[in-house]
């Protein structure tokens, strides 16, 4: 019997356990007695009462008494700030808050689309959807624990590092804390019953648990959002900060736009991280069934992410509008002051997101038989995206030497400078959204032909709507150069509305056009180049980085204020750091997040691993011990 087998012999282990315990006890007693013998002992001295007190002893006694008195008289002093070692308080709070938010966003988003996918499965009776929703939910429980851990860490750090400010915030929002805690308990209840109760309840009861999880999660987010938006756009308090109305403090200027923006952004982010998980599993898949399943999962995750991402700029526009409505100074600090260059970085990120998402869709066309007629449009779509990306990323002013500035006649380039203004950028982003929407539409049509009698008219109507809206958006963009500021700033509203109208109307027509289509080819899930999976991971990292950057601008916008215009930041970190420094912090935070999410993926994948005993048996039989998990095989054409 070798050592490995001996270690697995239960009888032997039961026998050896008490023996080992006795031996350890004997060793402990021996060590203790040996230490006692060699213990240091003071030399004998006469008791203090029987010896005369020397002047030195008297002096020492007096000193001790004085020290005790000083200690007793020391007044209690409330500190305003404490310092975190090495990186400082701000960076420490920043990173912990960002990690908390990233996990919270994931935990809030996944139940939304898991619930929708499960509901589709229930409605259609297709078990694949149920399994997919379950797989998404597997990622939740560990993420939930990490969210709570970072949340607790953030709270303690705020109390320790910013005690006075935290105390103020608590004095304003203390009535919201109990509902927050109760909702948190409710979320834990719903989450764990939703996950562990999979298949144990009637489907409608289980869907009810999922709905409860979403409602409670959203409630938690709304409460937390009121705290942070109050810091940015305080309301319901006097000029000195005294609370006048809690309702107003909660329902401040930016609360509702942030709520809407966060729900949409969370879905986009959650979808992208879930698709990154699927991509990771796809790359490590060993069978065609696994590849097919994870290809499908990645596709759904990416579909969720991009569907939520398309309306996100509109929600962002609303938020920016409310920031301007609250304080022009705040708005101009964001768009024209210290943070204006941040939006060039944002343009690079969003441009990459659009490019990545479109590239994935174009690669995905290859898995559908009969996609060739649509692939010829890809080059035009790519050209449109690149042009829009370039316009959006054009800065208004250029970093240049004195001689270069003289040669240009100013800090703005004589030609490209015209593209650096909001008229051009708004136009570019709207066309970018329209183009990506077209990519989706083309992908949706691959392998299908409409059979309705009005197919030609319907498709012509879609094309006309698309062309009209594109022309209208470009016209308004150009028109903006020739009108006064009061007119120009209002032009983005019709631009946004027309693009939304186009997306909704074209989708409605498309749904009816392809209700019962004739199929020209099947979808061969899993038949997609591996590079597509790296694109999904790239998109997830970019989304995460973008969230980190926009989290920074939302919070950093207050500059030297804890609560804008009310409670000033007097700490050593009150200055606004350079964008270079901020992006370094964001990068490190994103890397930490992916390190942790890697752990989440690993723990979630343990669920699919065969039990230890099974693996041992398989090993004894001479196999590798790898047992392929039972996976749903998507039916053709899904």
């Amino acid at each position: 019997m070798n050592i490995k087998d001996a270690l697995q012999n239960k009888k032997l282990l039961i026998l050896l356990g008490p023996v080992l315990g006795l031996v350890m006890f004997a060793v402990t007693v021996k060590m203790a007695s040996s230490l006692m013998k060699s213990e240091y002992r003071d030399a004998y001295r006469a008791p203090a009462a029987t010896a005369d007190q020397t002047p030195r002893v008297a002096g020492e006694a007096e000193e001790a008494a004085n020290a005790a008195k000083v200690a007793q008289d020391k007044p209690y002093k409330e500190v305003d700030y404490r310092t975190f070692p090495l990186v400082g308080s701000r960076v420490a709070i920043w990173m912990v808050a960002q990690l908390h938010l990233l996990f919270a966003a994931f935990v809030l988003a996944v139940p939304i689309f898991a619930f929708i996918v499960e509901a589709i499965g229930y409605k259609t009776g297709d078990p694949r959807y149920d399994r997919l929703a379950h797989e998404f939910t597997k990622l939740l429980s560990v993420s939930f624990s990490l969210t709570a851990t970072f949340g607790a860490g953030l709270t303690f750090m705020l109390i320790i590092l910013y005690p006075k400010f935290t105390n103020y915030l608590m004095s304003v929002f203390s009535p919201t804390f109990l509902p927050y805690v109760l909702l948190f308990f409710a979320e834990a209840f719903f989450l764990y019953t939703y996950y562990y109760g999979w298949g144990k309840f009637h489907p409608l009861v289980h869907l009810g648990l999922g709905l409860g999880l979403n409602v409670v999660g959203t409630g938690i987010m709304l409460i937390a959002n009121s705290w942070l938006t109050f810091m940015m756009s305080p309301k319901g308090v006097s000029s000195s900060g005294a609370l006048l109305s809690l309702t107003d403090a909660i329902y401040n200027y930016t609360w509702m736009p942030i709520n809407v923006h966060r729900v949409i952004a969370n879905i986009a982010f959650g979808g992208s991280v879930a698709s990154a998980y699927a991509a990771f599993k796809f790359l490590h898949a060993t069978t065609d069934e696994e590849r097919a399943h994870y290809d499908w999962m990645g596709y759904i995750g990416n579909f969720v992410a991009i569907s939520a991402f398309l309306p996100l700029p509109f929600a962002g526009y609303w938020l920016a509008k409310e920031i301007y409505a609250y304080s022009q100074t705040l708005g101009l600090t964001m768009m024209g002051g210290a943070f204006s260059w941040l939006f060039i970085i944002q343009a690079v990120l969003i441009g990459n997101l659009f490019l990545g998402a479109n590239y994935y869709l174009w690669l995905g066309m290859g898995r559908v038989e009969g996609a060739q007629p649509f692939q010829k449009f890809v080059k035009y779509l790519l050209a449109a995206i690149v042009v829009c990306f370039m316009v959006w990323a054009t800065p208004r002013s250029i970093i240049a030497t004195v001689s270069e500035i003289r040669a240009m006649g100013g800090s703005a380039h004589p030609v490209l400078g015209f593209l650096g203004v909001m008229s051009a950028k708004n136009t570019a982003v709207n066309i970018l959204i329209l183009t990506t929407f077209m990519s989706f539409l083309l992908y949706r049509r691959t392998g299908k032909i409409s059979t309705v009698g009005w197919a030609k008219a319907g498709q012509a109507a879609q094309l006309v709507i698309f062309a009209l809206v594109a022309v209208f958006v470009i016209f308004l963009g150009v028109y903006g150069y020739f009108v006064e500021a009061t007119v120009r700033i209002k032009l983005s509203v019709p631009q946004v509305l027309s693009v939304l109208l186009a997306m909704v109307s074209i989708t409605v027509i498309d749904v009816f056009l392809f209700r019962q289509p004739r199929k020209t080819g099947e979808v061969r899930w899993g038949r997609i180049p591996a590079v597509s999976q790296y694109v999904l991971i790239f998109v997830a990292v970019t989304f995460t980085w973008l969230m980190g950057l926009m989290g920074y601008v939302r919070s950093g916008l207050r500059q030297h204020w804890h609560v804008y215009g009310i409670i000033r930041d007097n700490s050593v970190d009150a200055f606004t750091p350079t964008l270079g420094f901020a992006t370094k912090v964001v990068s490190v935070t994103v890397l930490l997040f992916f390190l942790l999410i890697g752990v989440v993926f690993w723990i979630a994948s343990l669920h699919d691993q065969p039990d230890f005993a099974e693996r041992s048996k398989a090993r004894r039989r001479g196999g590798s011990g790898e047992v392929s998990p039972e996976l749903p095989v998507p039916s053709p054409g899904a």
């Binding site: 100074t329 600090t333 006064e484 700033i489 992006t583 990068s587 890397l591």
Partner: protein, 182 residues
């Protein structure tokens, strides 16, 4: 040798993050310090006040975030070149000092046609310039088309002086052609 997917994924995450971090280093780097209270010598001359006023406009006052000096075309907020000339006559009954003071203490009292009523009160948080700092800004604004006249002791409607329509008007420079009414 085939590189395992895990290593490739880790490299991709690292490279993507590093790339965006690098992009962040390419844009202009500016650290913005919180504004400090300006200390004024009692005998600060009007010319020195104008210099201080210019510094306040660039920094603590955030004025030049929105306003331009000597720029034409589609502007979002009024250009300040030659503004003193216009300030003398823009609001009937207000001289340039009173007009500038009103623009900063009560900016929506009069809004230049064609521009949004977007300027915040400059004496209140978050900008919260002191009365003396605002006088310095007025001294600088007076140099744009006129000659500065204010001192740290100058009183206007918003710092304890009585409303003084037309009083203590600064010596006006001749209006530049086409500047009035802009």
């Amino acid at each position: 040798m085939r590189i395992p997917h895990s290593i490739r994924v880790a490299a991709l995450v690292l490279a993507t993050t590093a790339f965006y971090g690098y992009v962040g280093q390419l844009v202009p780097q500016k650290e913005v310090q919180p504004p400090q209270e300006t200390a004024f010598a009692a005998d600060l001359s009007t010319a020195d006040m104008a210099k201080v006023g210019r510094q306040i406009m660039e920094g603590k006052g955030f004025c030049l975030t929105c306003h331009t000096i000597g720029k034409t075309g589609a502007l979002r907020f009024p250009d300040l070149a030659g503004v003193d000339v216009r300030a003398m006559t823009r609001v009937p009954g207000l001289n340039d000092v009173e007009y500038f003071a009103q623009s900063m203490y009560e900016p929506t009292a009069y809004v230049v046609p064609g521009f949004p009523p977007a300027m915040p009160p400059i004496n209140k948080p978050p900008i919260a310039l002191s009365d003396q700092e605002i006088l310095c800004v007025i001294a600088y604004l007076q140099t744009l088309g006129g000659t500065p006249t204010v001192t740290l002791q100058t009183k206007h409607h918003y710092n304890g002086g009585a409303a003084a329509p037309g009083a203590a008007a600064a010596p006006a420079a001749p209006p530049a052609p086409g500047a009035v009414g802009k």
